[in-house]
Every structure is written in structure tokens, then in C-alpha cells.
Homo-oligomer: 147 residues x 2
Amino acid sequence: MISKKAKYAIVALVHLAKRPDNSPVVIREIAVAENIPQKFLEAILLDLRKAAILASRKGKGGGYYLLKSPKDINMADIMRLFDGPIALLPCVTHQYYERCEECKDEATCGIRDVFMKLRTVTVDLLKNASLAGIVDRETSLREVVKD
Amino acid sequence: MISKKAKYAIVALVHLAKRPDNSPVVIREIAVAENIPQKFLEAILLDLRKAAILASRKGKGGGYYLLKSPKDINMADIMRLFDGPIALLPCVTHQYYERCEECKDEATCGIRDVFMKLRTVTVDLLKNASLAGIVDRETSLREVVKD
DNA sequence: ACAAAGTCTATTGGATTAGTAGATTTAATA
DNA sequence: TATTAAATCTACTAATCCAATAGACTTTGT
């Protein structure tokens, strides 16, 4: 399961991506609109800012806004940022590789083989899931439901 | 990341599946051979027994052995047993479905859509990864390395 | 009877998760 | 320049989970 942090981050990003202009949005607006505990959200948005996905302005008229285009923000990056590696075994991650202590021969490990394949398809799918894609999908899903 | 419990479970099952006959194997043998803390492994094997994947015999000559054929034991079942749902969001699990509290409309949620697709491909891949497949894969990988 | 095996109950230290509280800093504007 | 609205920083906490250990108990074969 994804952490609440990662989930809230995605929800907040979608909220920001849905706005026509990219003007700053105050934390409270996002928190209220998306049912996210405000103080918790503050920490999350800060992380997104440190990761250069969001930018912020302090003081009156301030708030958070997207720094990158929605089509350049993907789920893989967000999930890695909050929950660490996407792979399910340390021996099949790219960035955080670590040998399994109990493993006798990595090269011929059939378990590793399975989880390597899984990692590949997962990262592939999440890399291709952009904020823009999600927003588009919501509008087209709404069309379908309306009918 | 998968839990140690799930990983040890898979390693232990592969150990059992590799044996030509299906005679009982004592916990210590598996623990020593696979570098798994014995006491920890005991609890794991007990869980596998309760799930009717392994059976056991007490006393001299006893131990654990597979109850099901290796081709009928798949990674999805093992992972669910130890780590719970495979899906990354509660709203896209089959067995443990739970609404996301912060979600406004599930039917048109673009986030849910992404994680639903991910769940489908993941479960599909893990369901098709049987113990038998893993053992086979190890033998054929060994062939390749030998050359 | 004895030894060899699994089984059960309890506990523990440490890490992680999901927050909360409150003081501080920065910027706009009246 | 005083006020206000906003983000930012530091610290703390309760609850849960993870990985493992300890020790007593039960069952079974010889």
C-alpha cells in the first residue's frame, strides 16, 4: 500500500493541475477541498517544493503552484519521493540497490527474476502516468458517467 | 518493499520445492541453508501451514513439506498472506476494498484509474509466477551462467 | 523413557506512520 | 510602518508494525 503522504501528494498535485491558470493556491484551500489534514499537508507540500515539483510564495496572495508542466510530472517520481523504491526487493531496485543477505547466487535467483520483471512493468506504467494524463482521464470519465 | 516475512516464506518454499521427493524437512535445515533466523522462520512456516500451503509432522523424522504442487503455489497468494493486499490503494483491492475517505467521486477518479491498471498487471504477473516456474527458471539460468 | 521435532504465548527494541502544536519568517498592502 | 496573510521550522506524540527472541509445551518415533 502507498502511504497517505504519497496519496495526499498526488491528490494535491491533481488539484493544482486542474486549475486553468497556474496562480498560487493556499494550503488551506487544498486541505479543505480534498479532505486532507492541513498541518500534514503542509509538510507534504514542503517536500514537493524541495523536490522542485512545486514552488511557493509567502505572504498575502501567496500559496503553492506547479513548477513543472503536468505532463512532466509522473507517478513514479512522486511515489519514489515519499515511499522510496518502487521495486519490491532491494536487489532489483535501480537507485537503492542492496544485496539480499540471505541470497546465495543473485545471477541465478529465480525469485529475483520474477520481481525484476514486476519492477520493470510497474515503473513503466507509473512513469507513463502523468498528472496531465490523470486530469484528462478524469474529464473523459466524467463524460462517460454523464451519459 | 515486500516484508522479510514474505521474502523468507518464498525462499523457504523454493527450498522445499527444489527437493526431488516431498519428504519432511526440519526447520533448522531450511534456516541454516537459507540464512533465515530460525525462530522467525518457525512463525512463518506455521502461517504457511495454517494457509494450507505446507503440512507438518511433529517428532522424530518430522518437519515441513509442501501440501500443494509447486505449480499451484503462486507469488500472489504468498504475498497476500504475509503482506496483505497487493493493490497500492484501498479503493482498488478486491478482497479488502475500502473507500478513500478523501475521495470525492470514485467513478471518475483518475488516480484510481491508474492504480487499478497497475493492480491488474501486478496481480496477473504474480499469479502466473508459480513456485514451479521459479525453480525451472533457476535451473535454466544456471545453464546460461555455466556457458 | 527419551529425544527430536513442531507449537504456543509473550515480550521486546526499533522503526515508521500519521499526525499535532506552536513559534517564526516572509511578503503584500493599507 | 503596522497589520495581516501566508509559508516555514522545530519539536513532539500516539499508535502501529516489523523483525526477532525466549521459553514453556505438545506430539511422535524408536
